[in-house]
């Protein structure tokens, strides 16, 4: 168990002419025992950050502290961290039990007698439900089983930090959900500081004590799942979370309302939004926050015509046309709206996210739960 402090981490790949800045000034403080998730699209620098903590790559600048000790120039085998690789990285010429015994035999994770090794392996394989696979080789396992073995190799040994690199990404959807629940219930996970990298926002929200959203080598926002979901720092974070994606519409602030699209419909201005009358803004409305209240107008709410209704299991995804602007709305289906019909929708003013106007990713206009550490480091 240990705290992790990364400050001003920089790492670039490639030659000076076409350098790719994989990690570009990342700073974060991770508390003892915390489950910290780094969320971001592929190529954001998540794995590079993780491997920097592990000491597997030579960083260009910055420092890494583990348990208050500067380990920036410490070899990986002295850092006492365990990592599950995205590629599993199981030794192909060794059986499952030999793979699991490998960290116990190195002598750097403690001294274990044969029986102690066996006991530890038994314990972890029982927890992960893979004790019938001990004598198999990695090539004889399914992806789900390989992933469990890779996780087992992390859990079998005591470590200050667990580093998990997309451990669930190659599983099918059902298995992923099951493993997510299992992962959360693992005792070792709740005791040990864990850095978890994923591109799946559901995993991040479900598992993380805190989430850092990463883009192009930088941390865009750090916060609890609640904060990240409720107060996205910019349109990138807002878009990164939620399926279907958040609706982003251009609008103009009017008297306590924001007029959207061609001005024929509007939403309330949330109380904490920092914008004033006449400002051009972008408004984010999550499909699940929009409520269909009926088919007939009584003067209030947004009115539109359903263009498309798709059933996605429990929910129905509506594509609603509001005089030229399209809005994605998630409904339970009880409203009984069909394609071609008129609907009236409302949204709570606290569910309206206001962002600055412009192209690309624009920041939130209003308070963001920014980490004090992030600000202190900048």
């Amino acid at each position: 168990m240990a705290t992790v402090t990364i400050s001003d981490l920089h790492k670039a790949f490639g030659k000076t002419s076409n350098k790719i800045r994989a990690v570009d000034g990342v700073s974060v403080d991770i508390a003892n025992g915390e489950f910290f998730v780094i969320l971001g699209p592929s190529g954001a620098g998540k794995t590079t950050t993780l491997k920097s903590v592990a000491g597997l790559i030579d960083i260009d600048a910055g420092t890494v502290n583990i348990g208050g000790i500067d380990v920036t120039n410490v070899e990986p085998y002295h850092r006492n961290v365990a990592m599950a690789f995205e590629s599993y990285a199981l030794y192909p010429q060794k059986t499952v039990s030999e793979n699991l015994a490998s960290p116990l035999k190195s002598g750097r994770t403690g001294k274990y007698s044969e029986s102690e090794q066996k006991q530890r392996i038994d314990q972890v394989t029982t927890t992960l439900g893979i004790n019938q696979l001990l004598n198999r080789f990695p090539r004889e396992l399914s992806n789900g089983q390989r992933q469990r073995v890779a996780l087992g190799r992390v859990l079998v040994r005591p470590a200050d930090i667990y580093l998990l690199d997309e451990p669930l990404s190659h599983l099918d959807a059902k298995l992923r959900a099951a493993m997510r629940a299992e992962l959360k219930q693992l005792g070792a996970m709740s005791d040990t500081t864990t850095l978890y990298v994923t591109h799946d926002y559901q995993e991040a929200l479900a598992l993380g004590d805190r989430i850092a959203v990463m883009r192009e080598g930088r941390l865009v926002q750090i916060g609890t799942p609640q904060e990240i979901w409720r107060r996205p720092a910019d349109t990138f974070v807002a878009r990164a979370l939620g399926q279907p994606e958040i609706n982003i519409l251009d609008g103009v602030v009017d008297d306590g309302r924001i007029r959207l699209g061609d001005g024929s419909f509007d939403v309330p201005v949330p109380a904490d939004a920092r914008c004033s009358r006449g400002d051009r803004v972008r408004v984010g409305l999550r499909p699940c926050d929009i409520h269909v209240v009926g088919k007939h107008s009584n003067g209030s709410g947004m009115q539109g015509r359903v263009v498309l209704a798709e059933r996605l299991g429990r929910n129905i995804e509506l594509t609603v046309d509001l005089s030229g602007s399209q809005l994605i709305v998630l409904t339970s289906g009880r409203e009984g709206v069909a394609e071609g019909e008129h609907v009236v929708m409302t949204i709570a003013d606290s569910d309206v996210h206001v962002f600055g106007a412009g192209e690309g990713d624009t920041p939130r206009l209003g308070p963001v739960a920014r980490e004090s550490t992030l600000e202190a480091a900048q």
Partner: protein
């Protein structure tokens, strides 16, 4: 009726004979015969006796005596070179060169495959450039140097010079094997608490075994077949089998073509046996299942 259709239905994957494919097969057959002919000729020649050795008839009375002569003292008397001893010398020279190349070349290939540094490609290319120049170009200065430092006609000297032939081969072949190896595996070993040296020995090395087998075999064959270096830099003590064969052609005296052929066949056996022994290691595919595709 069976004759309802003039064309028979084809099974899946079956093709009708076309003129193109027949011609291609005929061409291959011709090439096969053409390339096999010298070997067949050598075998025939090795079985002929002294009277018939210059005839071109396929009809003759075959004899094994040529092989016996080559390996016996009689052969030694005829050529003043002990063929058996040169066979052993060849094994020592080539085996030594291959071992030296592997011991130095494997770590070098690993370093070259894993780390890019300033000039690393130039270094690799420079190593390969030993193979560009004809050996005859360097043989005169080598001869002078070998004479002066006392390496002439020593096995150490021969191992040293043959290693120039085998080392680039080993390094270049194994470098590509190490490059194909996913780095995650060694990184996992580092995090398991192993040093870089142990990660290399425990993880990387076992996985390139097929590559080592292939490189060692090729290196051995190249060293075995080398002619110029032993011809100039060695004599009776470190002379190899390639040079010993030619003695049967008799410098100026009588040429024993049948004995030459028999000696050549004997000389071809060790690489052949080696190739057959290690061919099962030549199969790649140890790394399957290690990481996702």
């Amino acid at each position: 009726m069976a004759l309802k259709s003039s064309k028979r239905e084809l099974l899946p994957g079956q093709k009708r004979l076309s003129i193109g494919s027949v011609a291609a097969d005929a061409g291959l057959l011709f090439w096969f015969l053409f390339s096999l002919f010298p070997i067949a000729w050598m075998v025939l020649l090795a079985l002929k006796n002294a009277e018939q050795q210059t005839t071109t008839y396929f009809q003759f009375s075959p004899t094994w005596s040529n092989f016996a002569t080559v390996l016996s003292d009689k052969g030694t008397e005829m050529t003043s070179v002990d063929f058996k001893a040169s066979l052993l010398t060849s094994l020592i020279n080539c085996g030594g060169a291959v071992i030296v190349s592997l011991v130095i070349g494997i770590p070098a290939a690993y370093a070259a495959g894993r780390w890019q540094y300033r000039g690393s490609n130039d270094l690799m290319f420079q190593m390969l450039s030993f193979r560009f120049a004809p050996e005859l170009m360097v043989i005169v200065p080598l001869f002078v140097i070998y004479n002066q430092i006392g390496l002439f006609d020593t096995k150490v000297g021969m191992i040293w010079v043959l290693q120039l032939v085998t080392m680039p081969l080993v390094v270049w072949i194994l470098r590509s094997y190490f490059q194909d190896l996913p780095e995650d595996l060694e990184q996992a070993a580092l995090l398991d608490g192993y040093t870089r040296r142990r990660a290399f020995l425990m993880v990387a090395l076992p996985m390139v075994r097929p590559g080592i087998a292939a490189a060692a075999l090729l290196a051995f064959i190249f060293a075995w077949n080398n002619y110029v270096f032993p011809l100039i830099l060695a004599d009776t003590n470190a002379g190899t089998v390639t040079v010993a064969i030619t003695k049967f052609l008799g410098g100026g005296g009588q040429a024993y073509y049948n004995l030459t052929a028999a000696a050549a066949i004997i000389a071809a056996l060790p690489p052949l046996i080696l190739a057959l022994t290690i061919q099962r290691y030549l199969v790649r595919g140890l790394s399957f299942g290690a990481v996702k595709a």
